[in-house]
Amino acid sequence: MDKTTAPTSATQLILYWLIVGTPLAWGVWKTLAKLPALLQ
């Protein structure tokens, strides 16, 4: 059986979401750092 289409495990779900979520969180975090200047 093709491993990639085997029933989904929770680990696989968490791993995939982490792979795409981490760079997005990094980008948002770096951008949020620019906001205090606007609020001053």
């Binding site: 029933p7 997005l24 906001l35």
Partner: protein
Amino acid sequence: MSFLDRERIIAKPGFSRWLVPPAALAVHLSIGQVYAFSVFKIPLTQSIGITHSVPGDWTQPSLAWIFSIAIAFLGISAAVFGRWVEKNGPRKTMLAAACCFGGGFLIAALGVAWHQLWLVYLGYGVLGGCGLGLGYISPVSTLVKWFPDRPGMATGMAIMGFGGGAFIGSNLSLTLMDAFKTATSTGVAPTFVAMGAIYFLFMLFGSLIVRVPPDDWKPAGYQPPVQTQKLITTANVAVDQAWRTPQFWCLWVVLCFNVTAGIGILEQASPMIQEMFPKVTGPSGEILKKGISATAAGGFVALLSLFNMAGRFVWSSLSDYLGRKTNYIIYLLLGAILYCLVPMSGHLGNHIAFIAVSVVIISMYGGGFATIPAYLKDLFGGMQVGAIHGRLLTAWSVAGILGPVLVNYLRVYLQQRGATGVELYAPAMYLMAGLLTIGLICNLAVRPVAARYHYRDGSPSNNAPSRPTELTPEHSSTR
């Protein structure tokens, strides 16, 4: 049967559909980099001079064409290759998008290294633009098929990634340029090479994990509603029929004007807030009003990007409950009112009100992008929604030119006649409100698609879809 074929990626029993959004996000977070291309503008104008522009260096207007060509080819490729995308499935399309987008960066890197601007146009603009178009529509149509119960939320997730890609793109570009910069190089060419490789790998990951549902698949416990809303069809319309319908062109105008209005603000955000709220000094030089600094304006742009991203998910998810037409009435009607309030906030000198109005406008700009695939699915069915979406994206190409041109040219025209501050932007804001009102009228004119356009199995008049077996019994009539 090739590893890339649609038949090889049909999900087996037990596969969770929640594995598909990460595949879509991997592609959209990558191609969303295009929104952050402006961070290369200044370094590219100093390719020869390194620390400052010298004769022979590229000018800003000539560099502005890179972004415009990329967006134009996004729309063109999405329209031209839409049917190919539906036929070949998401894995092959996402891989093609990865090759185009990554390869576009590599060719552009050669253009920078050899100081040949036409190579940058060809690489990032034409080839990269095709990567944008293919990468944009493929995951969207796949998600619509995986989430028939929540199409708005599903497409919102993917298209939110396109907005979020700007955060990654801008910070990654700046980090890499800092790392590669030397006394004799701005570091742009090696940054392009590195970004081409990184984005190729990230998009490749998406193409490897993406799956399509079996033809007769439905979410557990989901029953398509028997008595549904009037605008939600259970029939299908082929792409070559869809764009002959008045509904397609109504939505084309809606998308075009909603994007024109939003892009007009996004593109001018930094100078606009600084010019509308300038520093005011007294006769003896004392500061009467602090005004908005360039750094604070950078924070404003960041805030707009956040709301642009969040609006895509929030508004689109909300459309599953409110209905697509109602959502667009809100975007266009509330948008028109808010555009009229922008100059007022400037006249009052209230920058908090200006920021509050702007972020709502931009959230609805993002929401407009994210809700349109679900609106198309409601009207034309899911059979070729990716291809239809592709053709509708030509509206984005037009708006990408129209929005900045309207705001910029009006501003220059008024400046030449002595206008300052709020007066530089007020007419453009009222013009945008007018465009949104036209969009509102078009949205109100949207009715269910006439039965003569519906796809019937084996009908030679309709271009046969790639997967006619998708026409399950519940797709046989319009309610």
